[in-house]
Subunit: 106 residues, 4 copies
Protein backbone atom coordinates (compact mmCIF):
# COMPACT_ATOMS: atom_id res chain seq x y z
CA UNK A 1 0.00 0.00 0.00
CA UNK A 2 -0.57 2.47 -1.53
CA UNK A 3 -2.18 0.39 -4.23
CA UNK A 4 0.70 -1.26 -6.15
CA UNK A 5 -0.57 0.31 -9.37
CA UNK A 6 -0.46 3.84 -7.91
CA UNK A 7 2.94 3.20 -6.40
CA UNK A 8 4.22 1.99 -9.76
CA UNK A 9 2.85 5.14 -11.41
CA UNK A 10 4.54 7.34 -8.81
CA UNK A 11 7.85 5.58 -9.32
CA UNK A 12 7.59 5.88 -13.11
CA UNK A 13 6.74 9.58 -12.84
CA UNK A 14 9.84 10.21 -10.73
CA UNK A 15 12.09 7.99 -12.77
CA UNK A 16 11.08 9.46 -16.16
CA UNK A 17 12.09 12.89 -14.83
CA UNK A 18 15.26 11.65 -13.12
CA UNK A 19 14.03 13.23 -9.91
CA UNK A 20 15.05 10.60 -7.37
CA UNK A 21 18.30 12.56 -6.97
CA UNK A 22 16.22 15.30 -5.28
CA UNK A 23 14.21 12.93 -3.11
CA UNK A 24 16.45 12.50 -0.10
CA UNK A 25 14.46 11.76 3.07
CA UNK A 26 15.31 15.28 4.26
CA UNK A 27 14.02 16.97 1.11
CA UNK A 28 10.87 14.85 1.23
CA UNK A 29 10.31 15.83 4.86
CA UNK A 30 10.62 19.51 3.88
CA UNK A 31 8.23 18.91 0.99
CA UNK A 32 5.65 17.27 3.25
CA UNK A 33 5.75 20.31 5.58
CA UNK A 34 5.46 22.71 2.65
CA UNK A 35 2.47 20.91 1.16
CA UNK A 36 0.85 20.50 4.58
CA UNK A 37 0.97 24.29 4.93
CA UNK A 38 -0.74 24.72 1.56
CA UNK A 39 -3.49 22.46 2.84
CA UNK A 40 -3.69 24.55 6.02
CA UNK A 41 -3.87 27.71 3.93
CA UNK A 42 -7.35 26.57 2.77
CA UNK A 43 -8.40 27.31 6.36
CA UNK A 44 -6.24 30.39 7.01
CA UNK A 45 -9.09 32.79 7.75
CA UNK A 46 -12.07 30.51 8.27
CA UNK A 47 -13.25 26.98 8.89
CA UNK A 48 -14.77 26.36 5.49
CA UNK A 49 -12.84 25.50 2.41
CA UNK A 50 -13.46 24.58 -1.16
CA UNK A 51 -13.61 20.76 -1.44
CA UNK A 52 -11.81 20.60 -4.81
CA UNK A 53 -8.90 22.68 -3.53
CA UNK A 54 -8.72 20.67 -0.30
CA UNK A 55 -8.58 17.40 -2.18
CA UNK A 56 -5.80 18.64 -4.42
CA UNK A 57 -3.67 19.89 -1.53
CA UNK A 58 -4.27 16.69 0.44
CA UNK A 59 -3.18 14.70 -2.62
CA UNK A 60 0.11 16.64 -2.65
CA UNK A 61 0.82 15.80 0.99
CA UNK A 62 -0.05 12.15 0.40
CA UNK A 63 2.13 11.97 -2.70
CA UNK A 64 5.24 13.05 -0.79
CA UNK A 65 4.32 10.73 2.09
CA UNK A 66 4.10 7.78 -0.30
CA UNK A 67 7.41 8.75 -1.90
CA UNK A 68 9.01 8.97 1.53
CA UNK A 69 7.64 5.59 2.62
CA UNK A 70 9.00 4.14 -0.60
CA UNK A 71 12.38 5.76 0.00
CA UNK A 72 12.47 4.39 3.55
CA UNK A 73 11.43 1.00 2.15
CA UNK A 74 8.39 0.72 4.34
CA UNK A 75 4.75 0.11 3.46
CA UNK A 76 2.55 3.16 4.14
CA UNK A 77 -0.39 1.14 5.40
CA UNK A 78 1.71 -1.16 7.51
CA UNK A 79 3.34 1.71 9.44
CA UNK A 80 -0.07 3.33 9.99
CA UNK A 81 -1.39 0.03 11.38
CA UNK A 82 1.69 -0.38 13.59
CA UNK A 83 1.38 3.15 14.96
CA UNK A 84 -2.31 2.61 15.63
CA UNK A 85 -1.35 -0.37 17.74
CA UNK A 86 0.81 1.82 19.97
CA UNK A 87 -1.81 4.59 20.06
CA UNK A 88 -4.32 2.11 21.41
CA UNK A 89 -2.25 1.61 24.54
CA UNK A 90 -1.37 5.30 24.88
CA UNK A 91 -5.05 6.26 24.64
CA UNK A 92 -7.18 3.58 26.35
CA UNK A 93 -10.71 4.00 25.03
CA UNK A 94 -12.32 4.36 28.44
CA UNK A 95 -9.94 7.11 29.56
CA UNK A 96 -9.73 9.01 26.29
CA UNK A 97 -13.39 8.93 25.33
CA UNK A 98 -14.68 12.34 24.26
CA UNK A 99 -11.47 14.12 25.29
CA UNK A 100 -8.83 15.75 23.11
CA UNK A 101 -6.30 15.68 25.96
CA UNK A 102 -2.77 14.55 25.09
CA UNK A 103 -1.86 11.11 26.40
CA UNK A 104 0.68 12.42 28.91
CA UNK A 105 -2.07 14.38 30.63
CA UNK A 106 -4.86 11.80 30.47
Amino acid sequence: MPDPKVLAELRAFVSERDWSQFHSPENLAKSISIEAAELLECFQWNSDADQARLVEELADVLTYCYLMADRLEVDADRIVADKLQSSRSKYPADQARGKSTKYDRL
Copy 2:
Protein backbone atom coordinates in the same frame (compact mmCIF):
# COMPACT_ATOMS: atom_id res chain seq x y z
CA MET B 1 -7.08 2.72 -0.26
CA PRO B 2 -5.70 2.78 2.32
CA ASP B 3 -6.21 -0.95 2.65
CA PRO B 4 -9.86 -1.41 3.68
CA LYS B 5 -8.73 -3.29 6.77
CA VAL B 6 -6.48 -0.42 7.92
CA LEU B 7 -9.21 2.11 7.18
CA ALA B 8 -11.67 0.05 9.22
CA GLU B 9 -9.19 -0.05 12.11
CA LEU B 10 -8.70 3.71 11.95
CA ARG B 11 -12.44 4.30 11.99
CA ALA B 12 -12.94 1.94 14.92
CA PHE B 13 -10.12 3.61 16.85
CA VAL B 14 -11.72 7.04 16.40
CA SER B 15 -15.24 5.81 17.03
CA GLU B 16 -14.40 3.91 20.24
CA ARG B 17 -12.96 7.17 21.64
CA ASP B 18 -15.79 9.35 20.33
CA TRP B 19 -13.17 11.53 18.64
CA SER B 20 -14.88 12.28 15.35
CA GLN B 21 -16.26 15.42 17.02
CA PHE B 22 -12.69 16.79 17.00
CA HIS B 23 -11.92 15.74 13.43
CA SER B 24 -13.23 18.66 11.45
CA PRO B 25 -11.36 19.13 8.17
CA GLU B 26 -9.79 22.26 9.69
CA ASN B 27 -8.53 20.45 12.80
CA LEU B 28 -7.20 17.61 10.66
CA ALA B 29 -5.37 20.12 8.44
CA LYS B 30 -3.77 21.65 11.54
CA SER B 31 -2.87 18.17 12.76
CA ILE B 32 -1.22 17.26 9.46
CA SER B 33 0.95 20.40 9.66
CA ILE B 34 1.85 19.69 13.28
CA GLU B 35 2.86 16.10 12.58
CA ALA B 36 4.72 17.13 9.41
CA ALA B 37 6.83 19.44 11.55
CA GLU B 38 7.65 16.60 13.94
CA LEU B 39 8.86 14.64 10.93
CA LEU B 40 10.91 17.65 9.83
CA GLU B 41 12.36 17.92 13.34
CA CYS B 42 14.19 14.64 12.67
CA PHE B 43 16.31 16.70 10.24
CA GLN B 44 16.47 19.98 12.17
CA TRP B 45 20.25 20.12 12.47
CA ASN B 46 21.44 17.54 9.98
CA SER B 47 20.56 15.37 7.03
CA ASP B 48 20.63 12.05 8.82
CA ALA B 49 17.89 10.75 11.01
CA ASP B 50 17.04 7.66 12.94
CA GLN B 51 14.96 5.34 10.71
CA ALA B 52 12.66 4.15 13.53
CA ARG B 53 11.80 7.71 14.56
CA LEU B 54 11.28 8.77 10.93
CA VAL B 55 8.90 5.89 10.30
CA GLU B 56 6.87 6.72 13.39
CA GLU B 57 6.55 10.41 12.51
CA LEU B 58 5.68 9.59 8.91
CA ALA B 59 2.99 7.22 10.19
CA ASP B 60 1.46 10.08 12.18
CA VAL B 61 1.26 12.33 9.11
CA LEU B 62 -0.24 9.50 7.05
CA THR B 63 -2.79 8.68 9.74
CA TYR B 64 -4.20 12.20 9.72
CA CYS B 65 -4.12 12.26 5.90
CA TYR B 66 -6.14 9.04 5.79
CA LEU B 67 -8.60 10.42 8.34
CA MET B 68 -8.96 13.59 6.30
CA ALA B 69 -9.51 11.71 3.05
CA ASP B 70 -12.15 9.64 4.84
CA ARG B 71 -13.79 12.80 6.19
CA LEU B 72 -13.82 14.35 2.72
CA GLU B 73 -15.22 11.06 1.40
CA VAL B 74 -12.46 10.57 -1.12
CA ASP B 75 -10.11 7.66 -1.69
CA ALA B 76 -6.51 8.48 -0.78
CA ASP B 77 -5.01 6.53 -3.67
CA ARG B 78 -7.49 7.80 -6.19
CA ILE B 79 -6.71 11.47 -5.44
CA VAL B 80 -2.98 10.76 -5.62
CA ALA B 81 -3.47 9.13 -9.03
CA ASP B 82 -5.63 12.04 -10.22
CA LYS B 83 -3.08 14.61 -9.08
CA LEU B 84 -0.30 12.66 -10.78
CA GLN B 85 -2.26 12.92 -14.00
CA SER B 86 -2.23 16.72 -13.79
CA SER B 87 1.44 16.78 -12.71
CA ARG B 88 2.34 14.88 -15.84
CA SER B 89 1.14 17.76 -18.01
CA LYS B 90 2.60 20.44 -15.75
CA TYR B 91 5.99 18.72 -15.82
CA PRO B 92 6.58 17.16 -19.25
CA ALA B 93 9.32 14.57 -18.82
CA ASP B 94 11.57 15.99 -21.51
CA GLN B 95 11.48 19.52 -20.06
CA ALA B 96 11.61 18.61 -16.39
CA ARG B 97 14.27 15.89 -16.57
CA GLY B 98 16.95 16.36 -13.93
CA LYS B 99 15.65 19.75 -12.84
CA SER B 100 13.98 20.76 -9.58
CA THR B 101 12.60 23.93 -11.16
CA LYS B 102 8.95 24.78 -10.43
CA TYR B 103 6.59 24.26 -13.35
CA ASP B 104 5.91 27.97 -13.82
CA ARG B 105 9.60 28.54 -14.51
CA LEU B 106 10.29 25.49 -16.64
Copy 3:
Protein backbone atom coordinates in the same frame (compact mmCIF):
# COMPACT_ATOMS: atom_id res chain seq x y z
CA MET C 1 9.77 46.20 20.25
CA PRO C 2 9.29 45.95 17.45
CA ASP C 3 10.28 49.58 16.96
CA PRO C 4 7.23 51.61 18.08
CA LYS C 5 7.10 53.27 14.67
CA VAL C 6 6.93 49.91 12.85
CA LEU C 7 4.34 48.63 15.31
CA ALA C 8 2.24 51.77 14.73
CA GLU C 9 2.50 51.23 10.97
CA LEU C 10 1.42 47.59 11.31
CA ARG C 11 -1.56 48.58 13.44
CA ALA C 12 -2.60 51.29 10.99
CA PHE C 13 -2.31 48.88 8.06
CA VAL C 14 -4.62 46.39 9.77
CA SER C 15 -7.03 49.00 11.04
CA GLU C 16 -7.41 50.79 7.69
CA ARG C 17 -8.46 47.44 6.16
CA ASP C 18 -10.68 46.43 9.09
CA TRP C 19 -8.73 43.20 9.31
CA SER C 20 -8.45 42.78 13.07
CA GLN C 21 -11.65 40.70 12.86
CA PHE C 22 -9.59 38.03 11.08
CA HIS C 23 -6.63 38.21 13.44
CA SER C 24 -7.69 35.84 16.21
CA PRO C 25 -4.69 34.22 17.91
CA GLU C 26 -5.65 30.96 16.21
CA ASN C 27 -5.74 32.48 12.72
CA LEU C 28 -2.43 34.24 13.36
CA ALA C 29 -0.89 30.94 14.49
CA LYS C 30 -2.06 29.30 11.27
CA SER C 31 -0.67 32.25 9.29
CA ILE C 32 2.73 31.98 10.98
CA SER C 33 2.91 28.27 10.02
CA ILE C 34 1.85 29.02 6.46
CA GLU C 35 4.44 31.77 6.00
CA ALA C 36 7.12 29.68 7.72
CA ALA C 37 6.52 27.00 5.09
CA GLU C 38 6.96 29.55 2.31
CA LEU C 39 10.30 30.44 3.86
CA LEU C 40 11.18 26.74 4.00
CA GLU C 41 10.18 26.36 0.36
CA CYS C 42 13.22 28.51 -0.55
CA PHE C 43 15.25 25.47 0.56
CA GLN C 44 12.99 22.68 -0.69
CA TRP C 45 15.49 21.07 -3.03
CA ASN C 46 18.80 22.58 -1.97
CA SER C 47 20.65 24.53 0.68
CA ASP C 48 21.06 27.72 -1.27
CA ALA C 49 18.39 30.32 -1.73
CA ASP C 50 17.96 33.70 -3.25
CA GLN C 51 18.61 36.35 -0.57
CA ALA C 52 15.87 38.72 -1.77
CA ARG C 53 13.23 35.99 -1.68
CA LEU C 54 14.43 34.78 1.73
CA VAL C 55 14.22 38.26 3.18
CA GLU C 56 10.71 38.74 1.88
CA GLU C 57 9.45 35.41 3.26
CA LEU C 58 11.14 36.03 6.60
CA ALA C 59 9.46 39.44 6.74
CA ASP C 60 6.07 37.73 6.33
CA VAL C 61 6.72 35.39 9.25
CA LEU C 62 7.92 38.28 11.40
CA THR C 63 4.90 40.40 10.49
CA TYR C 64 2.46 37.79 11.76
CA CYS C 65 4.62 37.21 14.85
CA TYR C 66 4.52 40.93 15.66
CA LEU C 67 0.76 41.00 15.10
CA MET C 68 0.33 38.03 17.39
CA ALA C 69 2.51 39.53 20.12
CA ASP C 70 0.43 42.68 19.83
CA ARG C 71 -2.78 40.68 20.06
CA LEU C 72 -1.50 38.83 23.13
CA GLU C 73 -0.45 42.22 24.56
CA VAL C 74 3.14 41.21 25.04
CA ASP C 75 6.36 42.82 23.83
CA ALA C 76 8.14 40.71 21.19
CA ASP C 77 11.62 41.51 22.48
CA ARG C 78 10.69 41.02 26.10
CA ILE C 79 9.36 37.50 25.52
CA VAL C 80 12.46 36.59 23.51
CA ALA C 81 14.66 37.83 26.36
CA ASP C 82 12.57 35.92 28.92
CA LYS C 83 12.75 32.71 26.92
CA LEU C 84 16.50 33.12 26.52
CA GLN C 85 16.76 33.26 30.27
CA SER C 86 15.13 29.84 30.58
CA SER C 87 17.16 28.43 27.67
CA ARG C 88 20.33 29.38 29.51
CA SER C 89 19.50 26.97 32.31
CA LYS C 90 18.21 24.24 30.00
CA TYR C 91 21.40 24.41 27.94
CA PRO C 92 24.37 25.14 30.24
CA ALA C 93 27.17 26.44 28.03
CA ASP C 94 29.73 23.88 29.17
CA GLN C 95 27.43 20.91 28.50
CA ALA C 96 25.86 22.17 25.27
CA ARG C 97 28.98 23.53 23.60
CA GLY C 98 29.28 22.38 20.00
CA LYS C 99 26.35 19.97 20.28
CA SER C 100 22.94 20.16 18.66
CA THR C 101 21.52 17.65 21.15
CA LYS C 102 18.11 18.48 22.65
CA TYR C 103 18.23 19.52 26.31
CA ASP C 104 16.50 16.38 27.55
CA ARG C 105 19.31 14.24 26.13
CA LEU C 106 22.24 16.45 27.11
Copy 4:
Protein backbone atom coordinates in the same frame (compact mmCIF):
# COMPACT_ATOMS: atom_id res chain seq x y z
CA MET D 1 15.89 45.85 15.87
CA PRO D 2 15.35 43.64 17.72
CA ASP D 3 16.48 45.83 20.59
CA PRO D 4 20.30 45.90 20.34
CA LYS D 5 20.55 44.59 23.90
CA VAL D 6 18.37 41.55 23.10
CA LEU D 7 20.27 40.93 19.88
CA ALA D 8 23.55 41.07 21.78
CA GLU D 9 22.20 38.57 24.30
CA LEU D 10 21.09 36.23 21.52
CA ARG D 11 24.49 36.41 19.88
CA ALA D 12 26.27 35.76 23.16
CA PHE D 13 24.00 32.79 23.89
CA VAL D 14 24.83 31.22 20.53
CA SER D 15 28.51 32.06 20.66
CA GLU D 16 29.05 30.69 24.20
CA ARG D 17 27.65 27.36 23.00
CA ASP D 18 29.50 27.40 19.66
CA TRP D 19 26.18 26.90 17.92
CA SER D 20 26.59 29.19 14.93
CA GLN D 21 27.93 26.14 13.04
CA PHE D 22 24.37 24.73 13.16
CA HIS D 23 22.67 27.99 12.19
CA SER D 24 22.80 27.85 8.41
CA PRO D 25 19.90 29.74 6.82
CA GLU D 26 18.43 26.38 5.83
CA ASN D 27 18.55 24.96 9.36
CA LEU D 28 17.06 28.17 10.73
CA ALA D 29 14.24 27.98 8.18
CA LYS D 30 13.51 24.40 9.29
CA SER D 31 13.62 25.53 12.92
CA ILE D 32 11.16 28.36 12.28
CA SER D 33 8.70 25.88 10.71
CA ILE D 34 9.15 23.43 13.58
CA GLU D 35 8.54 26.09 16.24
CA ALA D 36 5.61 27.56 14.27
CA ALA D 37 3.98 24.12 14.41
CA GLU D 38 4.43 23.99 18.17
CA LEU D 39 2.63 27.33 18.35
CA LEU D 40 -0.11 25.93 16.13
CA GLU D 41 -0.36 22.87 18.37
CA CYS D 42 -1.78 25.15 21.08
CA PHE D 43 -4.85 25.37 18.83
CA GLN D 44 -4.89 21.80 17.48
CA TRP D 45 -8.34 20.89 18.79
CA ASN D 46 -9.86 24.22 19.71
CA SER D 47 -9.63 27.99 19.38
CA ASP D 48 -8.59 28.72 22.94
CA ALA D 49 -5.15 28.31 24.28
CA ASP D 50 -3.24 28.93 27.44
CA GLN D 51 -1.65 32.40 27.26
CA ALA D 52 1.59 31.38 29.01
CA ARG D 53 2.16 28.48 26.62
CA LEU D 54 1.31 30.66 23.60
CA VAL D 55 3.79 33.32 24.65
CA GLU D 56 6.53 30.77 25.13
CA GLU D 57 5.98 29.16 21.72
CA LEU D 58 5.75 32.54 20.01
CA ALA D 59 9.04 33.50 21.66
CA ASP D 60 10.67 30.42 20.12
CA VAL D 61 9.50 31.36 16.63
CA LEU D 62 10.68 34.94 17.11
CA THR D 63 14.06 33.82 18.43
CA TYR D 64 14.81 31.83 15.29
CA CYS D 65 13.49 34.67 13.12
CA TYR D 66 15.85 37.12 14.83
CA LEU D 67 18.75 34.69 14.42
CA MET D 68 17.92 34.28 10.76
CA ALA D 69 17.68 38.03 10.17
CA ASP D 70 21.05 38.39 11.88
CA ARG D 71 22.51 35.63 9.73
CA LEU D 72 21.17 37.28 6.58
CA GLU D 73 22.59 40.60 7.87
CA VAL D 74 19.26 42.38 7.71
CA ASP D 75 17.34 44.28 10.36
CA ALA D 76 14.13 42.50 11.41
CA ASP D 77 12.12 45.70 11.75
CA ARG D 78 13.40 47.19 8.53
CA ILE D 79 12.36 44.19 6.45
CA VAL D 80 8.92 44.18 8.09
CA ALA D 81 8.53 47.88 7.24
CA ASP D 82 9.70 47.28 3.67
CA LYS D 83 7.28 44.40 3.17
CA LEU D 84 4.46 46.48 4.61
CA GLN D 85 5.19 49.04 1.95
CA SER D 86 4.63 46.49 -0.80
CA SER D 87 1.54 45.04 0.95
CA ARG D 88 -0.01 48.51 0.90
CA SER D 89 -0.05 48.51 -2.88
CA LYS D 90 -1.11 44.86 -3.17
CA TYR D 91 -4.01 45.45 -0.82
CA PRO D 92 -5.44 48.97 -1.39
CA ALA D 93 -7.45 49.85 1.72
CA ASP D 94 -10.64 50.64 -0.15
CA GLN D 95 -10.64 47.32 -2.04
CA ALA D 96 -9.43 45.09 0.78
CA ARG D 97 -11.53 46.52 3.61
CA GLY D 98 -13.27 43.81 5.63
CA LYS D 99 -12.23 41.05 3.25
CA SER D 100 -9.77 38.19 3.78
CA THR D 101 -9.49 37.61 0.03
CA LYS D 102 -5.97 37.09 -1.36
CA TYR D 103 -4.65 40.00 -3.40
CA ASP D 104 -4.73 38.12 -6.70
CA ARG D 105 -8.48 37.68 -6.34
CA LEU D 106 -9.35 41.13 -5.00
